[in-house]
Assembly symmetry: C2
Homo-oligomer: 556 residues x 2
Amino acid sequence: MEAVAEQSKSALKKAEKQAKLAADKAAKAAKKTNLPVVGGKKTDDIIGITVSKEENFSAWYQEVVLKSEMVEYYQEISGFFVLRPLAMHVWSTIRKWFQEHIEAMGVDEASFPLFLSSKSLDKEKDHVEGFAPELAWVTKAGDKDLEVPVAIRPTSEAVMYPYYAKWIRSHRDLPLRLNQWNSVVRWEAKQTTPFLRTREFLWQEGHTAHLTEELAGKEVLEILELYAGVYEQLLALPVVRGRKTENEKFAGGYYTTTVEGYVPTNGRGIQGATSHCLGQNFSKMFDITVEDPANKGSHVHVWQNSWGLSTRVIGVMVMVHGDDKGLVLPPRVAKVQTVLIPVGINKNTTAEDRKKHEAQLDAIQSTLRKAGIRAESDWREGYTPAWKFNDWELKGVPLRIEFGPKDAAKEVVSYARRDTGEKGTIPVGEVDSKIPELLETIQKDMYTKAEASFREHRLKITKWDEVLPALDKKNVVLIPFCLGGKCEDRIKELTTRADDQPDVPENQKLPSMGMKSLCIPFEQPEGPELVAGETDCLNPECQGKAQKWVMFGRSY
Amino acid sequence: MEAVAEQSKSALKKAEKQAKLAADKAAKAAKKTNLPVVGGKKTDDIIGITVSKEENFSAWYQEVVLKSEMVEYYQEISGFFVLRPLAMHVWSTIRKWFQEHIEAMGVDEASFPLFLSSKSLDKEKDHVEGFAPELAWVTKAGDKDLEVPVAIRPTSEAVMYPYYAKWIRSHRDLPLRLNQWNSVVRWEAKQTTPFLRTREFLWQEGHTAHLTEELAGKEVLEILELYAGVYEQLLALPVVRGRKTENEKFAGGYYTTTVEGYVPTNGRGIQGATSHCLGQNFSKMFDITVEDPANKGSHVHVWQNSWGLSTRVIGVMVMVHGDDKGLVLPPRVAKVQTVLIPVGINKNTTAEDRKKHEAQLDAIQSTLRKAGIRAESDWREGYTPAWKFNDWELKGVPLRIEFGPKDAAKEVVSYARRDTGEKGTIPVGEVDSKIPELLETIQKDMYTKAEASFREHRLKITKWDEVLPALDKKNVVLIPFCLGGKCEDRIKELTTRADDQPDVPENQKLPSMGMKSLCIPFEQPEGPELVAGETDCLNPECQGKAQKWVMFGRSY
């Protein structure tokens, strides 16, 4: 554990350093946002983001998720985070949407225990090997040692499949399709980051069994399409659907399909969610068979899938949409979609006028709520409207409505979009139709913008020398590739930059990270540059012929 | 752990013994239900319940939850259970209902880590003391020892409240109301039972902070009313609302309110769910304060509540409604509300007639689904209609629809209610209105029956000598009670039967369990028998005066 502790310490130092750098900007930021400044230093009262997204992406991200009140660091145990209501609203929206869709497909809900025994772990050693260093072991209950220690699930294949063997007795029991929403624990040694890499995370894990490869394969793609839907329809994020290479597929599985996202700020790819066909590998390990309906007397092993989507999706959403003012939430997943802020009320306002104004704003809020909008009003006293604007911008609320005596006189509300900053007015009598429309426009525009960015940074490359410059310009690349595992390893090495920039200041150095394959996109580029089996693999050292366009990139 | 292992072994032996006793009935039961009998012995193929609810309640319960496919015993680690789709459907229905209601109250969703550190445990020793023997300790990650072991949450006060102290800075941050849906682990040494006592269980835990006792107290009762709603409106179970005595309240809390259920078969009370006012006890331990808005400069500790409802509710539902055929599910929580079973189709049916019949049944199913009914058809081949009837009765489906050529000729469907066995017919053209009505009637009748049983077995007792006979007749009792803790302990002792039945066969002995207080019902009986402070406490040894009618009983 020392290594872990050391890593955490160094991470902490790094964070402290970043905080200090950030402090210098605090006065400026504070001025800009009308915040109280205490001795020119960053204080807890400075609500704005003090780091620029472009300049220090990692520090920016950590500030945003913390200050927007999405997460809280769990001080007691490193690598764990509290998910606060803002984040949980996004997750529960996803949960509802996905649950409805899989229910309609006939997937049932189940809940298997948190623990697995060392005995069942032995059954599937290959699969478990990857998780072994990260297993959390319970060895004591109260003050008594357990006879046999038990591990907390890092994923539930070993917990569930013995029961699949028990429950599946005949082809009539197929398909068996179960999903559970739970948390899993992987005691990461690497530096943890909220949502992206945490020692506990929330996810759903679906585990299904089918009679044939074809039936299993059909489901794999149906689920993948739902995962794409979570990104595209709810989170306003574009993804590329594809298949993982052999190197990158789920250990122990047959093949893995994936939706891959893209983070414009650093040009990295990020795995969105994966839907695996396990083939018959696990059914052989766990002895899950049925009598072959086509060949009485003989038994066949069932075909299995597993598929999972985790709270990581929230991190991708923050990284892509957020800006220097903080979080930017897509309206469909925002806990508060529209915030109403009273303006133009001051010491000179009479009590009567104030009361009238309150009643008007209440009526607007009530109209919006009836129209199905999650609307809140900010009546907090002791804060200026400007402070409130910043606070709700930080929290990513998609649409701000300002309403003052001048608006009232014109019978309009003034609005400001969080995503573009665009301002305008809407007649009070039309808020119930115009505001839902505007929110949908915001949702669509956010997707369009992110999609354009991903499309523009997904470059078809046919010359090896162009790869590294393309990566440095924050692109991911589509290259003709032989699909070979060793070739893929070598490509990573060849694109890993030796420290060849000794004179360049630390924060201007180009990334040294090599690229790995993200997926073999289902949608292959057309054109004569790649003829499968004839065109050379792009790796100059490779003797093989390209089979497919494969998306490579620096990645999370 | 040896003690635990011993207990498990003895439990296992007991279960084996029960299974053997049950086997003797198997042939009879099998005959009754048209099941295959293998050498007159119980086999896995015997789907019916082999034990009578009245004769061996505990064995009956275990058979029902297992054979109806609500749960599976987790063989790998004792005390854990798999919740299968039938059970999860009940739970997720409850979850949706409760979640909607607390959302409307303004309670937000959060997710706190699974673990607590020994440091935060130290902060609230009194509260933790009760849980200490049941804490599961993680001491290793991979093959490395953790520097500081961490415990899995048995409940989350110690995980959450340090953050309440951090987040609550001003009375404007109040109320803070968070709820989480998760699982907790309590490594019980006692014999475990599905749903009722398990080492891991699903629940929700709400934790809120308020400025005043009054505001906290209001919420305590609002939540209690929702808990009553889960029982009464969803599970068709009656409960008595009340307050726990000092002896029975939540350790570390201020006062506890509860809904109490009743199991007619053994006359025991069972705690349904509890809503606690913690007072300022925890806010003092965790230093959760705000500036007093009424007295600037001085700080006040916040008033806190916590409230929880667990999967135990499912166990109560099974125990009360189930019968010798198996589970009986209230329609509102049944995964399948209506099962359609084709009858009268046999070897002599022409292919054409068969096809026509299938189309008719499909049309009925489709009509029902459009009417919002969860309807399934059982087209399994190789099983007789009678076998299917038994199978769906075992699984508790509220309404069976039979449809054969004779029904088709009359343009009706035949139905059988699971709760009463009542049969009848409904015109095919009216199923979309009559069947939803019938399901609501079943729901209401199930409640009415259970409510009458609880009411009839809740006896007002004013003579001490009548207490034990009343308990032996499966009643709970309402008695004038002084509310004293020691007196309550003594009442339990006085009602614990020494083994005074040496000549009575084991299975005819009256229970030896003493009674404890279930609650002080909010709704107190009227009448002259109790004048608070004047009437004597019913305990003949007690010198005190009765304050309230208190419900006592043998209990879970």
